[in-house]
Every structure is written in C-alpha cells, then in structure tokens.
Symmetry: C2
Subunit: 737 residues, 2 copies
C-alpha cells in the first residue's frame, strides 16, 4: 500500500515511474523510428504504459508507468524468486493481493520489468548496450518535495534516527540505505575517539601510547560492530542473502558454449583458470601503480624538501609552491590513467556476474587510492625522518638543475646545517585530515553544483539565441521552431523542464562515496596517533558529509534505480585491512616519535633501534590480531535484534510445518493398528507365546525367531522383571546396609 507521502510524490511526478531517454542523434531517421516502435512495443508487452515527449534536439523522453495488475504480478514473481533463494521466509501471498511495500520495491520491480529478458517476463531493454544503445538513460524522477523536507529536518539534528534511515531505504533502495547507515554508524562511533582524542591531545600531545591503544581497539570494535550491523540491517530490510541472486553481466563474453550436465541447458562459460591467468596481470599492475605514483610523489617530495630546507636562492617564496602544483597536477592525471588501465584490466578479466566485477574493480581502485592517499605520509614518517641525513646529500642532483639559473653561493644552504623539520609529519597529517577533506567537500559538492547551474544558464542562453536566429533566418519552416522552444502543454511546462534538467545529470554510484569514507577511516587507523584531533575533525566533517552527500544525490545526480544489497561489499574488507595496517603503523609511529628525548642534534630521532622497532611492531600486530579474534568471538555471541526476529519467524514457520506433519501422522495412526501394540489379549497370552516360540523354532530365519520370542512390550517387561528379580539385589542390599 502506497503511503501518503508516496502517493503525493507520485502525484507530484504525474505518476511517472521511470523516464527513458531515447537518443536518435546518430542514427538514420527511419531506423530511429523503427527502433522506437520496437521499444514501445516491448514496453507495452511487458505491461508498461508510455507517454512520449520531446527531450532535447536529438532525444525523446519516454515516460513509463506500470499498470497495476502487471506490476503486482511482477512483484509476486520477484518475491517468489526471493523465497526460492531463501531471502524471504514465508511463501508469498497470491499475486492478486500483493502490492509493493515501499517506493523502492516498486521502482526496483518496474526496473526489472523494463530490463529483464523477455523469457523472464521483462521487456528486455538494456540501456546503452547492443541493440538498445539508443536508450541512453533510464531513471526514476526525484521526489523533490520530500528531499527538501528531509534535508531541512536533518540539518537540525545531530543523528539520523533508524526511522530516517528506513525512509532513505524506502526511497532510494537498500544500496543507498546501506551507505547512509554506514556513514551514520561511523559518525556515531566517532564521538568516542573525538572526545578521547581531544583529551589525550590536551593532556599528552601527540604519540601517546594510551591514545594509540584505544584508537586501535576502537577500530577493531567499529569494524566488527559494522559487520554485525550489516547483518542486522539486512534482516530488517529483508535483503539477507540477496547476493545469492546474482545478475549476469551482459558484457560477459563466454569462451565457449557448453551443455550444462546438471541443468541440461546451453550456457556460456569462461574457464576460471584462464581468468586467473588474466588476474595475474594485477601483480604487474599493482607494481606499476606503486612505482608510477610512488616516483611522482617521492620526486615532488624530494623537490619540496630541497626547496624548503636546502635551497636558499632567489624566488624561494614562489618556488616553494612548485612541488604542490606538480603533485596536484601529476597525481590525479596518473590516477586517471591508472584507473582507465584498471577498468580495462577488469573488463579483460571478463567476470560473469556484476558482483564479481565490482569486487575486482574495487580492489584495483583501492590499490591506487591507498598509494595516493597514504604514501606521502608514509614517506615522511618512515623514510624522511629516520633516513633524511642519508638521503639529503643525494638531493644534490637538484642543485645541478638549479645551478644554471642562480649563482653558486646562493643556491643552497650547506648540507651539514640541514635540519629535519620535526613538525613536518604532523603538518602533513593535518593537511590530509582537515584541509584535504574541506577541499574534497568543495570539489565534490559545491563545484559540480555551480558548474551545473552555469551550464544550464549557458544552454538556455544558447537556445534563446539559436531560436532567435532561426526565427529570423528560417521563417519558412514553421515546424522546426517549436522543436527548439518545446511545444509543451502549459500545465506540463514546469514538470518537463524539471525532467529535462534531471536527464542531463550523471548517474549516481554509491561506490565513490564509500571509497571516500574508507580512505578517511584509513587516516584515522594509520596516522591519528600523530595528531589525536583527527577523529574530532572527522566527526565534524562527517556531519556535513552526510547532509552534503544527500544533497548531492538529490541535486547533482539522476535519482538512482533502487538496488538491493546486504553489505557494503568489498569495502568492508578494506576497513578490516586498514585497521590491521594501522596496528603496524601506529605502533611504529609511537615508538619512533614518542618523547622528545629521542631527537638528535638535527631533528633526527637518534635512539631508534631496528630490533626494538620490529619487536614493537611484532607485538602490536599480534596483540591486534588476538584482540580482534576475541572481539569477533564476543560479537558473534550477541545476536542483533532483527536477526533474532528473523530467526524467530523462520523457526515459527518451520514449527508450523513440522507440527502439521506430525499431526497428519497422528491422525493416520488413530485409524490403524500398529504392529507393536498392547492389543495381544491378556488372557491367552501365554498360550500364544508358546505358539509363537514353537512356530519360530521351525522358522527358517533366525532373525525372525529371535524377534518372535517376546510379543509386545508388556511381555518384554515381564521377562525383564523376571531377570531383575533373579539377581541378588545389590541395590537394596546396599541400602539396607
């Protein structure tokens, strides 16, 4: 049953479920017409009603609405599938009485009606692929009123309630719901380290052992908590085990078709071993990424040190920006190159399901991100600080570059007077955890918003000008002019304008936002002992992040098609991994930098001993693993509420079924006599017994003779009692003694 707000939303969007953009810019008109006809026919056959309006110069907007009966049937089918895969416990009620529970379910099912192959009951439209490559967009419309209301509400409270998260899920589907839940849990969990970190910073400054231990522990607890929470959410949102229903990638290229022995169907296969061989390319890719990015970062780093701490020639105030500019220019370029290689590699690995594809891509993305995000700090902490005095002399090569331009005596400070900047590490951490977060927020939310508005303005201006030009020059072709100014009915004008704006927006993917959060978590796990205010900064940042991400989804992206999921997927592993690496780096940081006594004459920690450092790392890491195991064990014992509920439901369902089975048996039993009954008549028993024995002795089968000796349990009891009484009664004897 559609809720009030839902009905409202649908009304607001003129009950449009999905909008399809049909682009005909690059094909022949007659072909475009035929294809359009095919599209409409397919949709109609799948039970979808259409309306067509003009898009822009080279596209049509096809508005799609599902007819109630067909929608209900599709919902039924989807639920039957869920039930068969064990996602739902109870067999669904019949199709006639079924309705989508949430807007997200409605939209998801309609999206299936559009995209599933015809043999599975859909229309078989695959946007941007193969024969449907003219279908360039498929998306539902934003419910702007609700979005605005929520943004307003949330801006006035600190935490989203479970109810708010349910609302998000009902509107945008489980995938987005999981992201916001994660963000919310993470945000809520940050309170503790924010407060604790602030206290530690106030009392001990950086590198305090107690902060490091607590921080590591917090990381473990958070990751494990989130694992449980995921299960809980997936029970609450009824998506537990949804990854079992895997959708095949349409881009999958089978190597050969074989007849499946089990199912007897032809299906395309791609040998796992061959894929594995291709996956081996990941190793050179990882190495190449590490070297490529590493060289850029290390070089810029070296230049920076050279200019900041050795160079004393002219223009130093300006030159100091060179490395920053270089990094800002080169690293994103290199990342983009690597990303495109990663995508190609991933395509080449030819995964069969979207999940596998996403998982593999995430891994590659993570490698790139790990290097770009953490390598600079790692270089400072574990190369620059301990080995600076060994490396700095080699920076002479830069002096050679500089020499042509400046006189020799100006060129550089003397190497021997070189001083390690002891605050460099902290400054860098602050840069990455505060400045970079703010810059990121601006780049991700504000800039696209401004750009998009500017673009619309520009387009409108352009169109106006063109319209004017055409009106002036082309008066004799009156059928063309309405195309440009849009001949919309008055009452639809506002609506169509909105749709035309939305159709221009990019598609939203939740991965990007998850990635950002995981990388942020990494700073916390890996480097926060350097500056214990990191969690506080993130706490503030994430309050904004949650709202701005929602704003972004509502304003800067097409409304995403609801997807189901029961986990944040590979990012969960990433969190675990980062927290593990954190146990190594933070132990090393604390050992190396804790206490000022260790600092030597030129700012270098003198007292670091290799074996002690390694021992600290060894203990820290293994302690981490043991504690993690303990926390994991403890967590599995505590059953989240929704899991318990789900289990109870399942149990009840089973119990009912079993009871009915036993009941049926009991009824059956009443009608019939049983072999082992008390019926054998008391009176003639001894006679019968004798008979039986007599018979049995002549029977051929020794087993039958054995089993005929005693008839019915009463007789056995008699025999047993006889034997018992024949014994010297030790029990009673003892008692009497």
């Amino acid at each position: 049953m559609a809720t009030a707000s839902e009905a409202n939303a649908l009304g607001y969007n003129l009950k449009v479920d999905y909008v399809i953009r049909y682009s005909f810019g690059d094909v022949d008109q007659s072909q475009a017409t035929t294809q359009l006809e095919k599209l409409l026919r397919s949709l109609a056959e799948a039970g979808l009603q259409c309306e067509i309006r003009q898009g822009d110069e080279s596209s049509l907007l096809v508005f799609v609405r599902a007819t109630k009966k067909r929608l209900n049937r599709a919902v039924y089918r989807s639920r039957v599938r869920d039930w068969l895969y064990g996602i739902r416990n109870a067999e669904p009620e019949p199709a006639s009485s079924i309705t989508p529970q949430t807007e997200a379910e409605r939209l998801r099912v309609i999206s299936q009606m559009i995209t599933l192959p015809t043999e599975e009951g859909g229309a078989g439209i695959t946007p941007k692929l193969g024969e449907w490559k003219n279908v360039t967009a498929l998306f539902p419309l934003h419910d702007e009123e609700t979005n605005k209301k929520w943004l307003h509400e949330w801006s006035q409270k600190t935490f989203l309630s479970d109810d708010d998260l349910d609302q998000i899920r009902n509107k945008f589907g489980e995938s987005v719901g999981f992201y916001f839940s994660f963000l919310q849990s993470y945000f809520r969990f940050l309170i503790f380290p924010a407060v604790f970190g602030f206290s530690c910073w106030f009392l001990f400054g950086g590198y305090s052992i107690i902060y490091t231990v607590v921080n590591s522990l917090w990381c473990i607890v958070f990751v494990e908590y989130w694992k449980r929470k995921e299960v809980d959410l997936s029970c609450r949102w009824q998506t537990k085990g949804v990854s079992a229903v895997q959708t095949k990638r349409r881009e999958f290229k089978p190597e050969k078709e074989i007849r499946d022995e089990g199912t007897g169907e032809m299906r395309g296969v791609f040998p796992a071993t061959k894929r594995m061989q291709r996956q081996l390319l990941q190793i050179p890719f990882a190495l190449f990424s590490a070297i490529g990015l590493g060289v850029i970062i290390a070089t810029c780093f070296a230049i920076e040190i050279f200019i900041a701490e050795l160079y004393s020639g002219p223009l130093k105030t300006y030159l100091i920006f060179i490395p920053t500019i270089l990094v800002s220019a080169l690293v994103p370029t290199m990342s983009a190159v690597l990303m495109s290689i990663a995508t190609k590699l991933n395509d080449y690995e030819n995964y069969e399901t979207s999940d596998a594809y996403d998982f593999a891509l995430t891994q590659k993305v993570f490698i790139i991100n790990f290097i770009t995000s953490y390598l600079p700090i790692l270089l400072t902490a574990f190369v620059y600080v301990p080995f600076a005095s060994l490396i700095v002399p080699y920076l002479d090569i830069f002096r050679l570059t500089v020499r042509p331009f400046v006189s020799k005596e100006h060129a550089t400070a003397n190497c021997s007077t070189f001083q390690i900047d002891p605050h460099r590490l902290r400054k860098q951490v602050i840069y990455f955890t505060v400045t970079a977060q703010i810059v990121g927020f601006a780049m991700e939310t504000i800039v696209p918003y401004l750009k998009q508005h500017a673009l619309r303005e520009y387009k409108a201006y352009n169109k106006k000008r063109n319209g004017k030009l055409e009106k002036n020059g082309d008066k004799d072709s009156p059928e063309r002019s309405p195309v440009v100014t849009y001949d919309d009915p008055d009452e639809e004008k506002e609506f169509l304008k909105r749709v035309r704006n939305e159709v221009e927006l990019p598609e939203y993917g939740v991965t990007e936002d998850l990635r950002e959060m995981c990388i942020q978590f990494g700073y916390l796990a890996l480097f926060s002992p350097t500056w214990p205010l990191v969690p506080l900064s993130f706490f503030i940042n994430n309050w904004i992040e949650l709202r701005s991400d929602f704003f972004k989804i509502c304003k800067e992206f097409q409304r995403p098609t609801p997807l189901r999921c029961d986990t944040i997927g590979p990012w969960l592993d990433t969190l675990g991994f980062l927290s593990w690496v954190g146990s190594i780096t933070s132990a090393a940081l604390v050992y190396m930098f804790n206490g000022d006594a260790r600092t030597g004459p030129n700012g270098e920690p003198t007292d670091i001993r290799g074996w002690a450092l390694l021992l600290v790392i060894f203990f820290s890491e293994h302690l981490y693993l043991i504690v993690r195991y303990a926390v994991q064990t403890a967590m599995t014992r505590l059953e989240p509420p929704n899991v318990r509920k789900e289990r109870a439901e399942r149990y009840l369902m089973r119990k009912r079924y079993l009871e009915s089975t036993i009941q049926a048996e009991a009824n059956e039993e009443l009608d019939k006599d049983d072999l082992v009954s008390e019926v054998p008549p008391e009176l003639t028993r001894s006679a019968l017994e004798e008979d039986a024995r007599h018979n049995s002795e002549h029977s051929a089968d020794p087993a039958e003779r054995f089993w005929m000796r005693q008839r019915g349990w009463t007789e056995s009891a008699k025999v047993g009692a006889g034997i018992i009484q024949a014994q010297p009664s030790t029990g009673t004897a003892k008692k009497q003694q």
Copy 2:
C-alpha cells in the same frame, strides 16, 4: 531399499538396530522393574519393537528394532526438517514411499526415534541422564563381516577410493566419514612433501630455504584445499548446512525462563554477557596451563641439560633417564588435571548447543596440546640454543642439590667447557615425529586391544570360578545359577556373547583422532625444516594410522551412532592457525640455523642479529598471509564438482517453479484484455485521441491528463516518429558527409 550387504549385515545381527543396556545394579528391584516398564512402553509408543535378554549380573540388554512403517515416517519427518532448514533442495516424497537411503541414515533416524523428546515424535530416552540414568549404553551392533572384508581390502591398497569413503560414510555416518576423508586427503597430499623433503634432505640437509618455502606453501594449499573439499563432501553427502539444525544440550541450565517475543514460547535463556564473563576465565586457565606445564617441561629440560652436559659425577648413565621419567610421569598427570579443569570450565560456561560446547572444549584441549607437544622443541630452538651460555650458569642450583651426594670435584664439568649440542634440536624433532608416533600408535591401538582381551579372559575365569563356587555352595537356589552361566537359547549363544562383549567397550568419539592428526600437522608446519624427512615419516605413519584407526573403531569401541556433520569443525581453524605459526617458526629456524658458518666456538650460533631475525619473521609472516589470500581467492573460483551439481539441482528446481509461475500468468493473460493493448481501433483512432485529450483537459487530476494524451503504444510511436522526423537529421547528415 536396503542394499544386499546391508540386508546381510542386518541378518547377521538378527536385524537388531540398537542395543540398550539397562543397568539395575544400584536401584531397588521394584523401582528397576517400574522404570524398565516405562522404558519399554516409551519405545513401543515411538514405534520400536523390543526383545529383552540378560546382560551381565546387573544389567539387561534391550534389543530394539524399528517397525518399517514408523521408521519410514520418521525418515520422512527428518527429511522434511532438512528441507525446511535448506539442507535438501527438493521437498521430500510422501512418507509412504520413502525409505532410508543408507544404513547410516537408518540408524541415525532410529537413534532420533529413541532419543528425541516425545513432542517431536521420539521416545524421549536420554541415556545416562536424569530419569534415564539407568540406560547406560545405546549403540548399534558392529557389522563384523563387512569390517573384516574392508580391513583386508584396504591393507592391500595405498589409497582409499571415493567409493570406499562413501562406504564408510554409509556405515558409520558422516562424522566418521569426514574423519577418514580428511585422513585420506592429508595422506594423499603428503606424497609431495615426502618426495620433495627427501630430495631436499639428500641435497641440502636441514634448514634449506627452498624446502621451508615449499613446505609453507604446501601447508597453505592443503588447508585451503581441505576447506573446499569439505564443501564438496558435504554436497556429495547431502549434509551441507546441517549445522543449522542444532541440537540443544540437555545439560544446559537456563538462568531464567522468558517468553520469546517472536515465537511466543517460553524458553530458557542464559545471557550471552554472563557467559562471556565466564569465558574470561579461559585467560587465567591458559596462563595457568602454560605456566604449569611450562615449568614442568622447562625444569626437566634444565635437569636433562645439567646431567647430560654439565654433570660428570657417578651414576651418570642412570641419572640421565631421570628427566625423561619425570616428563613421562608429570606431563600426562598435569595434562589430565588441566583437562578436567577445562571440562569443568566448559560445563560452567553453560553452552546451549552441543556444537558450541564442543567448539569451546576443543579450543581448550588445543591449548593444552599445543603446550605439551610443541613447547619442548620451542624451548630448545629459541631458548636453549641462543641463550644457553647465559642460562647454563644458573643451573648451579642443581649442583647444590647434587653436592651432598658426591664429592665436589666430580660434581660437574666446568661451565666454561660447556658445549651446546648442535644436534639436540634435530634429535628432538626426530623423537617427536618418529618415535612418539610409533609409541602413540602402540598406546592407542595395540595396548587397549591386549588389555581388553586380558580383561575378557579374566572375567570369564572369574565367572567360571564363581559359578563353580555357587554351584557347590548354593545348590538349593537353582534359579540363580542360570543367571551366571546365561541361559541363552543355543542358536543365540554366539550372538549374545558378541553383544555382551560389545556392550563393555567404550564409546567412540572422533575428536580424539582428529586432534592427533592436527597435532601431527603442527610438527610438519612448525618444525619440519629442521629435518626434511618429517613428511616422509608421516606419510608412512598415516598409511598405518588410517587402517589402525578403522581397526580401533571396529574392535575397541562400540559402533558409533551415525552423526551428521559438514565439516571437521574447530579443528579446521586449528590447522589454519598452525600453518600460520609455522610461517613464523620455520622462518626463524632457517635464519638461525641455516649454514654452519654461524656456529660459534661452543656450538652457539653467533651471528644472529635481533633485527635481522625479526625482519625475516616479519616478511615471512606477511608473505605467508598474502600468499594465503591469493590461494584462497584462487580456490573460491574453482568450483568443486559436487558443489556444481548441487547448484545445478537447486537452479533447476527454482527454474521449474518460476516457469510454472510465469506460465500461470501467461494463461491468465490470454483470457483478459490488457490496458495497454493494440486493440484501439485503427479507424477511429484520431477521433478517440481528440476525445481523450478533450476529456483529459477537463479532468481534475493532472497526472491522469498527462497519461491520457497518448493512447496505447502505437499512438506513442506515432508521436515519437513525428518528433524524430521534425529534427534536422544529424545522423543522416553526418553519414552523407
């Protein structure tokens, strides 16, 4: 459909399914009689036929056989439960046509008929517990003929075939089947390191890097292989997910009864947090075990070194055995004490299910075993060898003990002449991997067998003597004498004698055998670089082990009640853990002992540097983890054959169901007209269109007006085509250019 051999076996055992021993030695005769009656009535009501025979002086043997109809119904019920829990894919056929597939299933179901509570359709007999504490044994009878045949067959081949393993499973159930499969897989996997280890030993001697690397890799592959194999086997034997059907422990003591919100039933609960608090006791327990056993082992070790390498007084040849005797006496005693503490602790932790109980107990057992098995070698390698020269002077305390007995000059060799025995480590490894295995085999198989025979002889002798005595002294009580000599029918004499022997045997538990194998695997993972012949020794040992274990089950234990399982359980984690620890110890061993150049003047490795050792360990461990991750990933991609089959079946089942749903819809559709049809008459369409538009403009609902503009997909197509043709045809234009 019982197979031929099965029918044979049942015939051989006179078609007896289970034997119950009812002991009445320590209760009053009338009470015993009442209780026996109750037992027999319960059995009869559950559909089981009974025969009673004399056991020994204070027990009865109740032979139990299931009636066919009731058995089939119980099988049906068990399969329905499996189906509901997702263990079986297909809903079972009706009860009337169902029969147990294997002897193990038959026995398992009958055991359920006997032990399940009455409300679940069983007889509610709980051996040794509560009101049934007089039921002191419940077991099926051995099928000696088949056992003998198999032992004979297997003694003539190297590897058991899959078919042999299936046979074991059919006879003894999945639990025993899993153990033998594991043993067989392990044995087969040992070929490679046996050959490779032999070659390395021949070519490089001990501590070769290449052997260590290959060995670690092998450990990873074996553990991961077995994980896959388990899944494969559980599909083959249809027990996948069987652990979901957890049986409640009857010993579980709930803290309070609460009404379950979901199911509305009263159930006993024990708060997880409280259990966790109790589990914290494991920490002092582990410490206590480590210290208790550690002190014993270390002390004996120190005494041994003192006597062997420092002492040169009289009686040295005899005194040298003191530490060995001490270890042999004290360690098992201490272990037994610790085991009883562990069991008490485990009982105290009050687990709700048997699985959880076993898991927790296994963990504790593993701690004790880890210390007793590996600590002596670890002490030699990482304490004695590197630190001997520091520790040996402290052995002076022993000199004080010795002094009263011997003259001073004899007492000890001078400390300065003390020489570390460089072969000590190797000797110790050889002892644990060869000698101890042989001793273990003897203790576990041969000794109990002899003991059991001796006991029978003794009993028979005793009985004969008593019989004689009674005959002589007690002539006037003729009903007593047959009790002692057993008044069995002639044709049953042989059979009953066999049953009376079996009833005396202990119960078999598979855990003990699995433990032994896991500990053995540990030697391989942890210490085999010291002496690369270890895998060869184990290979030979395990050929015998498999046969002797089977012999043991057949001859020295009651036939186990078939249990289902889908894994070797917690021991799997143990294997993974040992292989991980192996990556640390073997790297350390190789670094410390590889190359003789490192040995100093008194046999001590001089060149060991703390940081280098730690670095080697760090790299080795992390390399291990990375490789393990890679192997795991690769393994998950390769689907075992039975898993594929199972998936195909499940898929087919789902497909059939979904197809029937879609078919039903399609049929329905044929009857009715659809909203979106092509029917709108071609002729009057434009008129209708106009009408509709006209109407819709006056309609109150803007959404309805929107959706009424185009009627049916054909009209939409027309409108679309109009718009397309109205555009300057860029596509065609481009092509023409």
